[in-house]
């Protein structure tokens, strides 16, 4: 379970994330929504131990992201936005490298398993620099799940992908969640994706968390809304208009 308590990040006078209180249950697919610059990536960077919070705390499975950062890193998989990986290395070499860094015992066995899952076996020995964006994103996911993490953090995983690539990634994430029970924490601003994949959502605006609910509860609370887009704008717009 992921829990944050008053998690805050300040850069001098600017507050990027302001007292974030969030709970993500095990096995959930959590969509973290917000406009560009809302604080999504900063939050994710704190949760993945990349940057330190200014105040507040966050735990994953009871491990503090600051004090127990090595244990937290053992539990998480991470795919940043627009990752290129090592172009001169093949897909397998890239995965071997990241697998070994994640202390995977039988790397090659895991690579075969993951690539099978992603339907990517025929590209294993091709250099990554020859891959399309969709293919690179699949290898990116492969490196993130190679060690079978408890929680998978994704930053705009479908951004810049064509409809087929978007659908492929969506299916992969659903498969990982269903087969391994991996919790997925996904930063996105694509509302259509959220409706198709997420069980829970959080909306952040100007560093403040506006809502964190299960998708079904949210729809229940906004019965008159025809789409998630309408719900999103009524929540975000309501705050911005205040």
């Amino acid at each position: 379970m992921l829990v944050t308590k008053d998690l805050t990040k300040k850069y001098q006078d600017f507050t990027a994330v302001d007292k974030l209180n969030l709970t993500v249950k095990d096995g959930a697919i959590f969509g973290f929504l917000g406009h560009n610059g809302a604080g999504k990536t900063t939050s994710l960077s704190m949760l993945t131990t990349l940057i330190l919070p200014t105040s507040g705390s966050a735990t994953i499975d009871g491990f503090d992201v600051v004090k127990d950062n090595l244990q937290v890193r053992n539990l998480l998989g991470y795919l940043p936005e627009n990752v290129m990986l090592y172009g001169d290395l093949t897909a397998r070499e890239n995965l071997q490298f990241f697998g070994k860094l994640s202390k995977v015992k039988d790397v090659n066995k895991n690579i075969d398993e993951v690539l099978n899952m992603l339907n990517f076996t025929e590209w294993t020995d091709k250099k990554v620099k020859t891959f399309s964006k969709g293919m690179r994103q699949r290898i990116g996911i492969a490196q993130a799940i190679l060690h079978k993490p408890k929680i998978l953090f994704l930053d705009e995983p479908t951004s810049g992908l064509d409809p087929q690539g978007t659908k492929d990634i969506r299916n992969i994430l659903l498969k990982i969640n269903a087969e391994w029970g991996t919790t997925i924490f996904m930063n996105t601003h694509l509302l259509s994706e959220v409706t198709k994949i997420c069980t829970d959502i959080g909306i952040i605006s100007h560093g403040k968390l506006l809502v964190s609910e299960s998708l079904s509860n949210l729809k229940e609370n906004f019965k008159d809304a025809k789409s998630l887009e309408e719900i999103y704008f009524s929540i975000e717009g309501g705050v911005n208009n205040e």
């Binding site: 990349l50 991470y78 990752v83 990986l85 994640s102």
Partner: protein
């Protein structure tokens, strides 16, 4: 396998898949071979000239001149120039995108979410670069020892092997000092091309500008002394020019190497220890900035703005 070994192995693998790097390595090896060839043919020509003079003296019944001193390792002396120039560029090429490249590729964020300490990335990259430079210098050493034996018909004695080994260790330290400085610049710059440019400027400054400044100072001192006519014997060197040269690890490397490879006749048969003792300040000049950049690199990698 621990994280440091994983990094080192990956650095090694990536470098030898890089065509530009391979071209520089090939150039390095070819030049070292060429330098041995040029050195040995020059020495052979000198010996031939001496033999001709001896024959002529014998035929004319005049006294036979003393044979010139032979400094076998001097045959390899051209390697000093290649290590100073190409070796430094090679080290810069190895390190210029060590971090900025990872940042641009998005892989740095992936690395920093793995279960190991951040300083292990630096240690791993250093180990990888050390393996690459070490392998290159070892191959060069073996090549040159072989060529040396073929060219001179002599098998190097223990003292010569010690001098050569020490030269290679010094070359390793010199090249690693450029790598470490480049690594630090790469940590601090967002754009890999900009980092490369900075290091090339540093290289030009160290290899050409500072030595040129020292030379100018030397010439200036000579002119002054001539005009004032207060000194009968004009010094060819000055304390100031030597201080200026202390700012250039390249000059210091050349000075120590010249002693080790018997280019300087006054130290040609000194023991290795006395050469080290004589050049201790020069060794510190090479080591000190390296240690400083190393400490800065280990400190910088812990900071958030490394991302």
């Amino acid at each position: 396998m621990n994280s440091i070994a994983v990094f080192a192995k990956k650095e090694f693998k990536t470098a030898y898949k890089d065509k530009v790097f391979l071209v520089i390595v090939l150039l390095f090896l070819l030049m070292s071979i060429a330098s041995v060839y040029i050195g040995s043919t020059t020495k052979s020509a000198e010996m031939q000239a001496y033999q001709d003079i001896v024959s002529m003296a014998q035929s004319q019944g005049s006294a036979i001149p003393t044979a010139p001193e032979i400094y076998p390792l001097a045959i390899l002396s051209n390697i000093i120039e290649y290590v100073t120039m190409i070796g430094a560029v090679l080290a810069i090429f190895l390190g210029f995108d060590a971090f900025s490249g990872e940042r641009e590729n998005g892989t740095l964020r992936l690395l920093l979410t793995r279960p190991f300490y951040r300083d292990q990335i630096i240690t791993g990259k250093l180990a990888g670069a050390g393996m690459i430079i070490g392998a290159l210098l070892s191959v060069t050493l073996l090549f040159n020892l072989g060529l040396f034996t073929v060219a001179t018909g002599m098998i190097p004695n223990l003292s010569e092997i010690l001098r050569l080994a020490l030269f290679m260790i010094l070359a390793f330290v010199y090249m690693m000092s450029f790598y470490i400085a480049t690594l630090f610049v790469s940590l601090k710059t967002r754009d890999r091309a900009f980092g490369f440019l900075i290091m090339m400027i540093v290289w030009i400054f160290i290899s050409f500008v500072i030595p040129q400044l020292a030379d100018t100072q030397r010439n200036f001192a000579y002119a002054l002394s001539s005009v004032s006519s207060t000194v009968t014997q004009v010094p060819t060197d000055t304390a100031i020019s030597r201080i200026i040269e202390l700012l250039s690890p390249a000059v210091q490397f050349k000075n120590i190497s010249s002693d080790l490879l018997q280019v300087v006749s006054s130290t040609a048969f000194d023991s290795v220890f006395s050469i080290i003792k004589k050049n201790i300040l020069a060794i510190v000049t090479i080591m000190l900035p390296t240690v400083i950049f190393l400490i800065f690199s280990y400190t910088s990698v812990q900071k958030e703005n490394v991302l």
